[in-house]
Symmetry: C2
Subunit: 246 residues, 2 copies
């Protein structure tokens, strides 16, 4: 359809990088692109920490569940939801920010994600590869200390960036009629469509692993979601000054 | 730098549209592009409801704080965080999803935002204009009923789409050194940089309104954030099956 849509449709996560550093002008373009994303009522409730220091990347790699590509990538971003700067803005006006609502938590979490996705696309348009790192939420408190995050800032996800040194295949997505609903949400076909998706993903995993991995989407999801993970988050977030009282 | 980065950097929210409908092949490309965004561990925890019915758009417009452009745009998307489909997947495996954690709430909220931003960029690359609608959270329960959303699905934001019939200016963003931190979060310059940003935004508003609106960023943020908004959200989300016990 056009160059941008081709780029969006060709996304795959990259976890192996060439050793080349990322030119500074690339970083500048990526951050500027991130900043031009939409933001709820212009609050711009996010920050990003760019980490290139090898020791620090290694520590973050360990804190994120030993994902070695964090140590290996030339640049690691930690994307943070951020109400701290808004608190300072309120103080400048001699008022106090309300940080204890779901609303402001959602706003900050959405804001950082919009910016991060713009950054991802800008990076990919420059020939870089990226992968999001949810593992940055494994040990939130330790990451917060390492990056000296003030109260009212929390790391939502990380992002490795680098010139790709692999060409992974694309994982098949859910059928569009499961994702896109016209006028009202349609639950009538969910189970049947998921059975079809299970066949599609089963074939994908068998082919990708030459018959070694015999799984499918619902098995994977069930394995992942039947137990609670990152159970520290609620308390950590409250300690950071976020609240969920209303 | 390239076509995609130029597109990202030229974003502005569009709230006035030509009457032309959006061709179906555009909608298909937009949704396909959305689906190719990254997703946490491939959970794909989001859905989008496309609304073209005039009566329904009008109702959503009223429910979102009388934002008339929702009724006026040819296509309105309601982007939903969605654990319902994952619940069905777990049931297929005779397990039960854990829906009561911050972790799964964050995952679903981030997932839908990644997909939505891809959709926004795809739409803009096709010459469409978009605006995000946080007002969809004004009356979550009523929106949920109108769109027949099942439990474990919640509307995070809306998005108007249409061919632009206005050329608004771009709002100046925060200085990059407030957003982007190297190695550690830097709080030492926040207040001084915000004073500069207040001057920049004050000039912007004066010029845009021909002297009528004399405000700045910290005043706007203080006005907005010193009182709690959308105070129903916590209870609504719990009623929808989300939980925040850990």
């Amino acid at each position: 359809m056009n160059e941008t849509i081709n780029l969006l449709k060709s996304h795959r996560s990259i976890r192996k990088y060439k050793s080349d550093p990322i030119p500074q002008e690339y970083v500048d373009e990526i951050i500027t692109s991130a900043q031009m994303a939409s933001s709820s009522s212009h609050v711009q409730a996010y920050s990003v920490i760019g980490v290139t220091d090898q020791e620090k990347k290694k520590e973050l790699s360990i804190l994120s569940g030993n994902q070695t590509y964090i140590a290996d990538c030339p640049l690691f971003f930690v994307w943070c939801a951020d109400l701290y700067r808004l608190q300072v803005a309120c103080e400048m006006e001699k008022t106090e920010i309300v940080s204890g609502t779901m609303e402001n938590f959602i706003v900050a979490t959405a804001d950082v994600t919009l910016a991060a996705q713009n950054a991802a696309i800008a990076a990919e348009s420059l020939g870089l590869g990226i992968v999001y790192i949810g593992g940055i939420r494994n040990q939130s408190k330790e990451v917060t200390e390492l990056l000296q995050l003030p109260k009212l800032v929390y790391p939502v996800f990380g992002m490795c960036l680098g010139f790709p040194d692999q060409e992974p295949s694309q994982r098949p997505r859910l059928q569009t009629n499961l994702i896109y609903h016209q006028e009202v949400y349609n639950t009538s076909n969910t189970t049947n469509e998921l059975k079809i998706y299970n066949q599609i993903t089963n074939e994908y995993y068998l082919e990708r692993t030459k018959g070694k991995v015999n799984t499918n989407w619902s098995k994977q999801m069930s394995n992942k979601l039947q137990t609670a993970s990152r159970k520290h988050l609620r308390k950590y977030l409250e300690d950071q000054g976020f609240g969920f009282s209303e």
